[in-house]
């Protein structure tokens, strides 16, 4: 029983996450402001991280969490660089 619940929950989670990713991608393409695009990219990163987590739970393999760890720890670097670029016009002064 719990297995069924879990598998349905995972399907639901995946659908939601993919939907979120699609919306983020849409925002990335449409803008209208550059800040919106950067924020959308960050959202896409976070959603991807979660999608990978769900994938790991579904397959039951720990090895896939590695990639989520990398996104969680390093994914913000791209966002920070983009934000700095918007704020100062260059990434490293």
């Amino acid at each position: 029983m719990s297995h069924t619940i879990l598998s349905w929950a995972m399907v639901f989670a995946q659908i939601c996450l993919v939907l979120a990713m699609a919306l983020a991608a849409l925002r990335m393409a449409r803008g209208p402001r550059a800040q919106d695009r950067v924020l959308a990219l960050d959202t896409l990163y976070v959603n991807s991280m979660l999608l990978l987590m769900v994938f790991g739970i579904r397959t039951g393999k720990v090895i896939y969490f590695e990639a989520s760890l990398v996104i969680g720890m390093l994914g913000f670097v791209a966002t920070v660089a983009l934000a700095k670029f918007l704020m100062r016009g260059e990434v490293i002064e």
Partner: protein, 968 residues
């Protein structure tokens, strides 16, 4: 073994002269060179007993026996005689050069080239493999080039060197081709085999091809007509070089080759005609030109050409007696011509000029040198009791004989006598004009005097040799000549006599006519010669040199320009279009020829989530392409989206380590592109937006090309991925990764173990790329509109400047207060993560590459947080050290296997128990991976820093430009 030593010793000496003797002392280099040549001379001399009477010394070192390429050295009587010549005259020339070279010249360089040349020349002489011979042949051309251009600030030296290299280089190329054909005919590149199969060669249909190619090689080297003109131009070299290379040894290499292959190639009608025409025309033209030279060395150069022509003529005849005379004359010519060159060098050294119109009456000032030069000239003219006389008599005797009845053969006696008369005339002129007559009036150095004794010693020695050989030939040179002749001719060795007096016969009469006629010719022409311009009448403005220059200009300038303007382009777009189109065609055509037919698309077992992720990725990629031209930032963001979906794909398809690597690369790429974005020019609003028809069609064409390439790749990948995986090398790696590589992460084991050598090459390439980027960015000049500070910074700085309580940079510091603290704290965390990735790489996803980039991101964050100055005040990052350490580490790990007797990059693996951490894999591949890690950190950081430093640099450039703008 002595042979190897003999060939290697000069090269070792040459390297030593360059590398070790970086002193200003000219004596030290000269002493070293003298010692090396003397040892070589002794080594050669002690080999004599084993080559006497047809003996041979041979040494085989196998290199590529499958292809017949071996390092074979052999010495027979002829090679011995030539090696004695090379080392003996080499020693005398070194002694002479010790005094000749001036204090200002870089002397170690001179001796280094000279020794290297001697090594190459010995290589030619001792090669037992004809391909090896051609390698040394090329080396002599190259060192001759370097020696002629020794005074490279002199235009004549540069031109002469280039001409010599071009001519002898073309010859060397033809020689190689000819020797390859010869090897093909015989079926072996071994010299002994080639020499033994003369009949086979001469009967083969390719004989003429091989002959012509080899002859071009030999005739260019020996400066035979029509390739003779490089030799007089090579006289811009220092005189020791002229004496050594351009009279005694290198130009003799051509005739040496003719003698060497004489048993295999000569005796046919083609040989006689080709070699004979070249030899006879060189003999007579060289002697004729020599008479009209005003430059001492020019006269000697043309005389050398003429004497080489004499030797060539003798070899063309195909009779054994003529070959004996040729070998003998090679030795005689080397002795008297080298001494004459050295005498000319002394005259130049003491008076400051070599122009015969300005020299006269020097006998009073240089009595000993003058006497020596007179004896040597007499030998050159063929006066009895000197060595030149004997070989010239032999030549005359052969000229009279009928060999292959033809016009050429019948005119030979007359041509020989005429050339003899010319040579008497120019020898007489050399002596009379320089040493006799009134005292000189306008010398650059007014008071000439005798040079130091040891500078004159080589001339004394050589002149003594001329006399001894001339008076008692059979007691002095006789036995050595005999060994040489036997080694070349074998059973065909004729009866010959080296006596001076053969009774009154035709050759003697011809000699007398030449002597008297030459003297008379000089007396008649004396007044004209004393004043005339340089060069012979009629031919003065017509020469091989002019034709050569014309051809060179046409080929290397006009044709090259034409090709560049018609086939080349400097625009990026056409180049990219061509590359893409060629790539597409190459793929499409080869697939079509292989009978490729695309499968119908079939949708089954599709994971809807995965499909949706892909749809998002495709959407992002399309968006990025669409926005790339005008909205770079948007395109970059969308690119990030496409990248992350790729990473998800890798995870989905069970390649977690690819995903990790791709993720870190994705992040670094985004930052790199952003760094570059800052310097791109802004969009120009003024550009005319009306699109012409041609622009429209061009865009349409490019679009079509892009679609076909993309669609082609899609079909291709689809076809491959729907195939069942064949049982190829992948399963081998899966099986062996743990048992032989000691790791469970197969990808990593492949990278650092099975394919370690590839990885080694790849990290070297990465290092080169990083250095290139760094070097290119040092000279970077951005577009004028992006030099200024970005708008945001100007606004924020103005805000700071308006308020007295704020100092410059406060705004950004306030904005970044919280993020920068977090970023600084992340540094140890990310560094630990990098170590973690690195250590577990051998068994689980990770490895040196991913860890290296992660570490680079840690550094990058510090730059982001505080800026270049802040980061570099606190962190000393030396990317070059990291890269160097990485390369050395990787190479040293590989070489470590040698110490244990295994091939390069053999690895060993085991587990070590470490307290608190537990079992840690400790394969030697881990050390290799450490090298990869270190290099990746260094290279990535180097590129990032080089880009980041641009804003600091531009700040300085702006500061420099500001005062200039005010001046304007």
């Amino acid at each position: 073994m002595i042979l190897v030593l003999l060939v290697c010793l000069p090269f070792v000496g040459s390297l030593a002269a360059v590398v070790l003797l970086r002193t200003d002392s000219r004596v030290l280099a000269a002493r070293m060179a003298g010692a090396v040549t003397f040892v070589a001379l002794v080594l050669t001399a002690v080999l004599y007993p084993s080559v006497r009477d047809g003996g041979k010394v041979r040494l085989d070192l196998e290199w590529l026996p499958q292809l017949g390429l071996n390092v074979t050295l052999r010495m027979d009587g002829f090679a011995w005689l030539f090696a004695m010549l090379v080392t003996g005259i080499g020693f005398l020339v070194v002694l002479y050069a010790r005094y000749y070279m001036s204090e200002e010249d870089p002397v170690p360089r001179f001796f280094s080239f000279l020794l290297a040349f001697m090594g190459s020349m010995l290589g030619i002489v001792l090669s037992g493999n004809i391909i090896l011979l051609s390698v040394f042949w090329e080396l002599t051309s190259i060192f001759s080039f370097l020696l002629i251009s020794y005074w490279h600030n002199n235009a004549a030296a540069r031109d002469g060197a280039r001409m010599a290299l071009t001519i002898t280089g073309i010859g060397g190329f033809c020689l190689l081709a000819g020797l390859l054909v010869l090897g093909h005919i015989v079926g072996s590149y071994d010299l002994d085999v080639v020499l033994a199969s003369g009949d086979l060669i001469k009967a083969h249909p390719l004989y003429l091809t091989a002959l012509v190619l080899i002859l071009i090689g030999a005739l260019t080297k020996s400066a035979q007509v029509p390739f003779h003109f490089w030799l007089p131009n090579a006289m811009a070299a220092p005189t020791p070089v002229s004496a050594y290379l351009h009279s005694a040894t290198m130009v003799k290499a051509g005739v040496f080759l003719l003698v060497r292959f004489w048993p295999a190639l000569s005796g046919t009608y083609e040989w006689f005609m080709l070699v004979g025409i070249a030899g006879i025309s060189t003999l007579i033209l060289g002697a004729y030109f020599a008479m009209f030279q005003q430059d001492l060395k020019g006269l000697l150069a043309y005389s050398t050409i003429s004497h080489l022509g004499l030797i060539t003529t003798l070899l063309s005849l195909g009779s054994p007696l003529a070959a004996v005379a040729a070998i003998f004359h090679m030795m005689n010519h080397a002795t008297f011509k080298a001494s004459l060159f050295m005498a000319a060098g002394i005259i130049d050294h003491e008076t400051g000029t070599r122009d015969m119109r300005r020299l006269s009456g020097l006998l009073k000032y240089l009595p000993i040198t003058g006497t020596l030069a007179m004896v040597a000239s007499a030998a050159m003219a063929g006066v009895p009791l000197l060595n030149g006389f004997i070989s010239k008599e032999m030549f005359f005797a052969e000229a009279v004989e009928t060999h292959a009845d033809s016009v050429l053969d019948r005119i030979l006696p007359y041509v020989a006598t005429l050339a003899g008369a010319f040579s008497v005339a120019y020898s007489l002129r050399f002596i009379h004009m320089v040493f006799f007559g009134p005292p000189p009036t306008d010398l650059p150095k007014p008071k000439p005097h005798e040079p130091p004794h040891w500078m004159r010693f080589p001339i004394e020695f050589l002149v003594l040799a001329c006399l001894v050989v001339g008076i008692i030939p059979s007691l002095s040179i006789g036995p050595f000549l005999h060994s040489a002749v036997i080694s070349v001719l074998g059973d065909r060795t004729p009866e010959y006599s080296l006596a001076i007096w053969h009774g009154i016969n035709t050759p003697l009469i011809m000699s007398l006519i030449a002597l008297v006629g030459g003297a008379a010719l000089y007396v008649v022409m004396k007044d004209y010669l004393a004043k005339c311009d340089n060069g012979p009448p009629l031919f003065r403005h017509l020469g091989g040199q002019r034709i050569f220059e014309r051809v060179l200009v046409t080929v290397s300038w006009k044709w090259a320009r034409w090709l560049e303007s018609n086939l080349g382009t400097r625009h990026l777009q056409p180049q990219l279009r061509l590359v893409a189109a060629a790539g597409f065609l190459a793929g499409a055509v080869s697939l079509y020829l292989a009978g490729f037919s695309p499968k119908p698309l079939a949708f089954k077992d599709v994971d809807p989530i995965f499909a949706a992720v892909w749809a998002i990725g495709a959407f992002c990629a399309l968006g990025a392409a669409y926005q790339a031209k005008y909205h770079r930032l948007a395109a970059l963001v969308l690119l990030g989206g496409a990248g992350i979906t790729t990473c998800i794909t890798f995870v989905w398809l069970s390649a977690p380590d690819l995903a990790i690597t791709q993720l870190v690369v994705e992040i670094v790429t985004t930052v790199l592109l952003l760094l570059g974005l800052r310097w791109l020019p802004k969009r120009s609003e003024k550009v005319d937006n009306s699109v012409s028809f041609s622009a429209r069609s061009r865009r349409f064409r490019d679009f079509l090309l892009a679609i076909s390439c993309g669609f082609g790749m899609f079909l291709f990948s689809y076809a491959i991925m729907t195939q069942p995986v064949p049982d190829a090398i992948a399963s081998y790696f899966l099986d062996k990764a743990y048992s032989e590589g000691g790791g469970r992460n197969v990808v990593n084991v492949i990278l650092v173990d099975f394919r370690g050598f590839d990885t080694m090459g790849e990290i070297a390439v990465l290092a080169i790329v990083a250095l290139t980027v760094f070097a290119l960015l040092r000279r970077f000049r951005p577009a004028p509109d992006s030099i200024e500070k970005p708008e945001q910074q100007r606004i924020q700085n103005a805000f700071d400047a308006e308020r007295p309580e704020r100092s410059a940079g406060d705004t950004v510091r306030d904005y970044l207060l919280v993020p920068s603290v977090i970023m600084q704290w992340m540094f140890p965390v990310i560094a630990t993560f990098a170590v973690y990735l690195f250590l577990r790489g051998h068994d689980l996803p990770g490895g040196g590459f991913a860890a290296g980039i992660t570490m680079a991101i840690a550094f990058l964050l510090q730059y982001l947080a505080g800026g270049v100055r802040w980061a570099e005040d606190r962190l000393r990052i030396l990317p070059l050290r990291w890269m160097g350490f990485g390369l050395i580490m990787a190479a040293a790990t590989g070489m470590g296997a040698w110490l244990l007797g295994y091939p390069f990059l053999t690895t060993h693996s085991q587990y070590i128990e470490v307290p608190f951490i537990g079992k840690v894999p400790a394969a030697s591949a881990l050390l290799f991976d450490l090298g990869v890690f270190s290099l990746v950190v260094g290279a990535t950081v180097l590129i990032l820093i080089a880009l980041a430093h641009q804003s600091v640099r531009m700040h300085r450039v702006r500061g420099l430009d500001a005062p200039k703008a005010e001046e304007n």
